[in-house]
Subunit: 201 residues, 2 copies
């Protein structure tokens, strides 16, 4: 039977690392940037632009006191965001139909509901996440803890908003996941081994 | 090294079962009603009364328009609740000092912070919890699903209020735990085996 694993993750918590390890250990596909590339191809939008859209809640505020141009601008942004989401859903479903895989983020736990995925959420204390970002040489060079923290909060706020907008659910709410793992003082490789064992038995 | 495991759990999620399995598999103590008995002994309150207190947020509402008797009544209730909490903290710390153990509920994750416990939170979908309650022959005889649901909501509300009152933290908030496990469609024995493996390695 195919096994679909979806991983939601707080920024800096090591969710991507866990996803890669799981795909290696289980010998199944790992989808991350491939999704962006596929969306860009289908929608004819630039990859960087798609990347920006898929982690940000669309702006649904339509000012009534401003001119037509701005109104259309906002409207177009929402339309584009919805288009990207629709394409993303199709692509993620296609990927899950093809074979077992691990998919990070992108509301995959919600989009793939009927595939009965194993839904993991990875999180950590703020200090541990800042530390992880530093080790990873976050954003070409080490940022000060304060700047990293700001970035973590911003990215997670965007992720939460995007998830809420397209799923109607609360991002990180335990009930949307089968397992929530705190990586603050945990060995991610060990966690991966245990999840593999749990899924293989 | 001694290993302290604390288990927070939604009512009907199988948290107690997981706790018992962990204590058996690890060969360490399991504390549940022993804590109540010890509190009752130290405070000279009835066990049933202690049981009622330790899962309910104390009433801190002091009516100013009512007579002295009621005021004192409320005051005494709060005083008793605080006394029980203080005794509970001492007893739980004594138990954790003695040897490795599994402790269910009772803010143990918070009380035992300096023991660096492995903090687990067990939860499940409402339907799965109702089903589990039915199988367990909840409250001497099977209650209708609606009544069980009402009871689940009530108990969890009390647990959340008690936890919030004495720890200042949100009950069930993932950041207060190392692992949050959804038992809706999971085999609790298998989860126990994996946690044991994780802790033993």
């Amino acid at each position: 039977m195919d096994r679909i694993i979806t991983i939601g993750r707080e920024f800096g918590s090591g969710g991507k690392e866990l996803a890669r390890l799981l795909s290696q250990k289980l010998g199944i596909a790992y989808y991350d940037n491939e999704i962006i590339t596929a969306i860009a191809k289908k929608t004819e939008l630039a990859e960087d632009y798609v990347k920006q859209i898929v982690e940000k809640k669309p702006n649904v505020f339509f000012p009534v006191t401003v001119g037509k141009t701005l109104y259309l601008g906002q409207h177009q942004l929402l339309w584009q965001s919805n288009l990207v989401y629709a394409e993303q859903s199709n692509i993620i479903k296609e990927m899950a139909t093809k074979s077992s895989c691990v998919i990070v983020g992108r509301c995959a736990d919600y989009i793939l509901k009927e595939f009965n995925p194993y839904r993991i959420f990875v999180y950590a204390d703020m200090d541990a996440r800042i530390e992880r970002c530093k080790i990873k040489g976050f954003q070409e060079g080490e940022l000060a803890s304060k700047a990293i923290k700001k970035q973590i909060i911003k990215v997670d706020k965007n992720r939460a908003g995007y998830y809420r907008f397209y799923t109607g659910q609360k991002w990180g709410d335990r009930l949307n996941y089968d397992l929530c793992v705190n990586t603050s003082s945990a060995d991610i490789e060990k966690i991966a081994d245990l999840i593999v064992k749990m899924l293989q038995d």
